[in-house]
């Protein structure tokens, strides 16, 4: 049966401005349509909430470091390893779930898309092997380029066109979606055990600054007109007093306008902003600067951000910010994993316990909530946990409960062992705002879809859009009042439609759907200089041959290729 009609649900769709009105949604052959025939299956959504499928804009769910996290932490499986009855496979892992669990859990929460936030180009085949094995949800991956030698060499001389030509090449080789930049310059410095902590620290040997890299990548992104903007993990993550560097970095986007055919308006997406909004000079006088950072973000229409909410769990931190993980290991002394990747990037992993008895961790928790609560435009602020860095993605329902109920979050805040210190260091206690279902739909659906350049088909329930639909057991007129009730409602959808097929029913996975891999094919004019440089680097410096670098077609059997023509740029 490929026709459905979802009756009488409370629909929340920021793409059409629908705020909980009772509406019927018709589905036919994977799309949302005006009308379906009388034989269509009727889904009773009375007293339920209907939204588009949720979209994850930043998570580490597939690839070499995620997998290292899985296998070097057998203890993570002690928290959870099980199989539910039915068609699902064994599910294991808490903070870094296996691919099967990853797909099922996202689907159970109403998600239909996840962006793998850091793909080292040399390891792209690995990322795609895992994406291939992750069921149900569509996925894409961002190649990490902020410490790539080609980019550093071109941008040192401000050669934006060559940078763009290289990016076009690398996106095609890796089946990548856009430009990720992690600790620009700092990770290359890390190859010598060093770092760049401000945007003006020169990168060893390459004699370029993080500021030049950030700005150059934004320009190359707009030169190509990619669907997504440059996606930035800033310098000096996680340190007291880093908010100044954060605002300095954001300022680099001033005056640049988005150029693309996808309806995207931002030129810079700044990720897990929670980790970058700290004041103070040390862990003792650590304080929130979320207000200062968000005041700036609210003013600048060409920025989007995601939150990176700390969930106060035991988790596994992992990032291409290699020096940061080394630093973190120095703080908690838990097992440290590091990989430096030739010519491209690095990655580190350290398990982490956000202990609610610790004032700093609780303050981080508060900063993560302040950011969306200060956000004036929910279409530019998205909820993430930077999975698994600030917490596992499976905690989204709990994060929603804190954002949507002042009562729930205040109860936690006031119950902290060091509540006075946390309240003193943050402004959360003074905030009364509660995120509405409509705002949540913007922050988790319409907003990310727009920022990713996918707003034409995803993130809403307009006629003609892809039929990715989540139906929750939430009656907006009687919104659940306790934390556990809110959590339960968001953790287990009543129904999840993916491409017009029911994949989850009553929180139970019933169909593996038709999983797709999204990637961007950007066409540029022939560039002999760049092709020559690529050939030379492979001949002399890479440890694999150029012909063995690309990701073969078979790794992404169901591709959704987004074409961009930058030949006339």
């Amino acid at each position: 049966m490929s026709e459905f009609v979802i009756r009488n649900g409370h629909v929340f769709d920021p793409t059409q401005g629908i705020k909980g009105d009772k509406k019927d949604i018709a589905v036919k052959d994977g799309k949302i349509v005006e009308k379906v025939g009388s034989s269509a299956r009727v889904i009773d959504a009375k007293d339920k909430t209907v939204m588009a499928g949720a979209m994850e804009i930043h998570a580490h769910v597939a690839g070499p470091k995620v997998n290292a996290g899985r296998w070097y932490r057998p203890e993570d499986k002690h928290f959870d390893s099980h199989k539910t009855t039915g068609i699902t496979r064994i599910e294991g892992g808490k903070s870094i779930p296996t691919v099967f669990k990853t797909g099922y859990e996202y689907a159970r929460m109403g998600f239909t898309f996840a962006m793998e936030a850091a793909m080292p180009p040399l390891y792209a085949r690995h990322v795609h092997e895992e994406i291939h094995d992750t069921p149900i949800i569509d996925e894409a991956a961002l190649p990490v380029l902020g410490n790539n030698w080609f980019i550093l060499e071109y941008l040192k001389n401000h050669e934006v066109e060559n940078t763009a030509a290289y990016i076009s090449w690398v996106l095609r080789q890796t089946k990548g979606y856009g430009i990720k930049c992690v600790n620009p310059g700092g990770t290359e410095a890390w190859a010598w055990g060093l770092n760049c902590l401000t945007i003006h620290d020169p990168v060893p040997y390459f004699e370029i600054t993080p500021a030049e890299i950030i700005k150059g990548l934004i320009e190359a992104n707009e030169y190509l007109g990619l669907p997504h903007s440059m996606h930035l993990h800033q310098n000096d993550l996680g340190n007291p007093g880093n908010y100044k560097t954060t605002i300095d970095s954001l300022k680099l986007a001033e005056g640049i306008k988005a150029t693309n055919n996808f309806g995207r308006e931002q030129v810079l997406h700044s990720t897990h902003l929670q980790f970058h909004s700290y004041g103070g000079t040390n862990w003792g006088d650590f304080e929130s600067k979320a207000k200062e950072v968000m005041d700036y973000v609210n003013k600048q229409k060409n920025l989007t951000i995601d939150t990176g909410n700390v969930t106060l769990d035991e988790t596994t931190t992992m990032t291409a910010d290699g020096p940061f993980e080394h630093h973190l290991h120095g703080l908690n002394h838990l097992k440290w994993f590091n990989v430096d990747v030739e010519l491209e990037t690095a990655a580190g992993i350290v398990p982490f316990i956000y202990d609610p008895a610790n004032a700093v961790f609780c303050s981080q928790w508060a900063v993560g909530l302040e950011i969306p609560l200060y956000a004036k435009d929910p279409m530019r602020c998205f909820i993430t946990t930077d999975h698994p860095n600030a917490g596992p993605f499976t905690r989204y329902p709990r994060v929603y409960s804190w954002l949507m109920s002042k009562k729930v979050r205040d109860a936690l805040l006031n119950g902290f062992k060091k509540a006075d210190k946390v309240i003193g260091a943050t402004t959360l206690a003074e905030i009364d705002r509660e995120i509405t279902l409509y705002e949540l739909a913007a922050m988790t659906r319409a907003g990310p879809a727009k920022a990713l350049g996918l707003a034409k088909d995803y993130g809403g329930l307009r006629t003609g859009m892809n039929a990715d639909i989540a139906i929750y057991n939430i009656n907006p007129d009687k919104f659940p009042s306790t934390g556990p009730e809110i959590e339960k409602a968001f953790a287990q959808v009543a129904y999840l439609f993916k491409d017009g097929k029911i994949c989850v029913e009553d929180g139970k996975v019933v169909d593996m759907g038709h999983k797709k891999t999204f990637w961007v094919d950007a066409k540029v004019n022939e560039n002999k200089q760049v092709m020559h440089d690529i050939r030379e680097k492979f001949l002399r410096y890479y440890s694999v041959n150029e012909n063995n670098y690309p990701v073969p077609e078979s790794y992404a059997p169901h591709q959704h290729i987004i074409s961009v023509d930058a030949t006339k740029a």
Partner: protein, 441 residues
């Protein structure tokens, strides 16, 4: 006209060289020549054309002789064995593609198998150490481009990974290492004067079984604490001199092998080598890497990792959760304790490598072996399935010792009628489904 296939990946060791040039006959059936490979790698390609390839499954008869049977018959026998056995050891995987492993895991999950790879008798102790203390490492290209101090500890790449030294670790000139060999200082720590020691600038002979003590002394010296006159047969002045030199590196790397993983101390040796590396990062940049043996043993760990969360010895016999416990779910221990009811071997030769007691236990159980060639294991199996050689007659993904994935290439057709691992496993999987559906009725 014979033709040349370039950028071919060598399916022999964890070095996974990807620059071989293979000359192939016009009809795509015979390999005529191999360029760029080491002696072992060349042999792997060259023996493709040797006569006597097994082309049909062989089933052992009551008198101990083997009779050729159809794939269908052998598949049916195997599927029945898997469905009947409550606990099947499914060991090997190190010489096949990741795609084939994935299908194998699906079967294991259904029938309650235990999936284990040859890390269990190889770098399993390294994996245990990494599970305990993590590991700071890098890709091999980083070594080529940056390393100016290279330590080979308990490994002998001159024999086991012959092109490792020329491609990555000793001789190549890289971006920051324009002087190649001259710009690097090479140490070899071993209890024997190996061929690798001959290439090293400095050979440090450790007394057999004293690796842990010597590594500990290196850490002690790095912290400036006092040492006894000799540790593991090495004078304290030498230890201090080496440590000071390592500290002055711009980028250092330790490669280690079976000399650490399988001597007294085992995982503790690796543990302290990793901790030494971690300490060295307080002074400069340092990395450490296991010299993985089979060309895709790393891949098996990766696929098991993303599907179940453990790198080897994954027990799925409970069917509702995956378990991993060294000594409990590891192949040799399972066989020694007679805990499995059947054996399913693929793409590795336990008959040649497992302790004799384990193989005696194995030989008493229903056993099948999937391998292109006759080997020690096929000869104690009830069924031997011949298959195409992965990396020669069929492609598929493999992971290098530094976890870099490379898609291997097909250079010639497999012998007519011979299935690939993927095809064979898919058919076994299908037959298992049919039998289980019947059983359920």
């Amino acid at each position: 006209m014979p033709k040349e296939v370039t950028d071919v990946i060598c399916p022999f060791c964890g070095t996974l060289c990807d620059d071989l040039v293979i000359t192939v006959s016009d009809d795509n059936k015979t390999i005529l020549g191999v360029k760029n490979a080491c002696a072992i790698g060349a042999e792997k390609f060259n023996h493709q054309r040797l006569p006597g390839r097994v082309k049909l499954p062989r089933m052992r008869q009551a008198d101990g002789t083997y009779k050729e049977v159809s794939y269908d018959e052998a598949i049916d026998w195997t599927a029945n064995m898997l469905v009947k056995s409550r606990k099947t050891l499914m060991y090997g995987w190190a010489s096949t593609s990741c795609q084939a492993m994935s299908i194998g895991h699906e079967i294991a999950e259904k029938v309650g198998g235990i999936v284990d790879n040859c890390a269990t008798v190889c770098h399993g102790s390294s994996l245990i150490a990494i599970e305990d203390v993590g590991v700071p490492s890098c890709t091999l290209g980083e070594v080529k481009n940056r390393a100016d101090r290279v330590v080979f500890w308990g490994c002998n790449p001159a024999h086991a990974h012959p092109r490792h030294m020329s491609r990555y670790s000793i001789f190549p000139r890289g971006f920051f290492t324009v002087k190649g060999h001259k710009g690097r200082k090479i140490y070899c720590v071993d209890c024997r004067y190996t061929d690798t020691a001959k290439v090293a600038d400095e050979f440090i002979q450790v007394q057999q079984g004293y690796d842990y003590e010597l590594l500990n002394a290196f850490r002690t010296a790095a912290r400036g604490e006092a040492l006894p006159d000799f540790v593991g047969g090495v004078p304290k002045e030498k230890i201090q001199e080496v440590v000071d030199d390592l500290k002055s590196a711009r980028f250092g790397i330790i490669f280690f092998g079976m000399g650490l993983t399988h001597t007294m101390g085992r995982n503790h040796n690796i543990d302290i080598a990793i901790n030494l590396t971690r300490d060295m990062n307080d002074y400069t940049k340092f990395a450490i890497m296991a010299m993985r043996g089979h060309w895709n043993v790393t891949g098996s760990g990766q696929v098991l990792g993303w599907q179940y969360g453990f790198p080897y010895a994954v027990d799925l016999s409970r069917r509702d959760q995956a378990r991993h416990q060294t000594g409990e779910t590891t192949s040799v221990d399972l066989l020694n304790r007679n805990e499995v009811e059947a054996c399913f071997y693929i793409a590795t030769d336990p008959g040649a490598h497992f302790p004799i007691d384990a193989m005696i236990s194995s030989s008493k159980k229903p056993t099948i072996c999937i391998d292109p060639h006759i080997n020690c294991t096929t000869e104690i199996s009830d069924i031997h399935f011949p298959v195409a050689m992965v990396g020669v007659e069929v492609g598929g993904c493999a992971y290098r010792m530094d976890n870099v994935p490379i898609e291997t290439r097909k250079v010639v057709d497999p012998p007519e009628g011979v299935l690939t691992d993927e095809e064979l496993l898919t058919r076994i999987n299908k037959r298992v489904d049919e039998l289980m559906a019947k059983g359920a009725q």
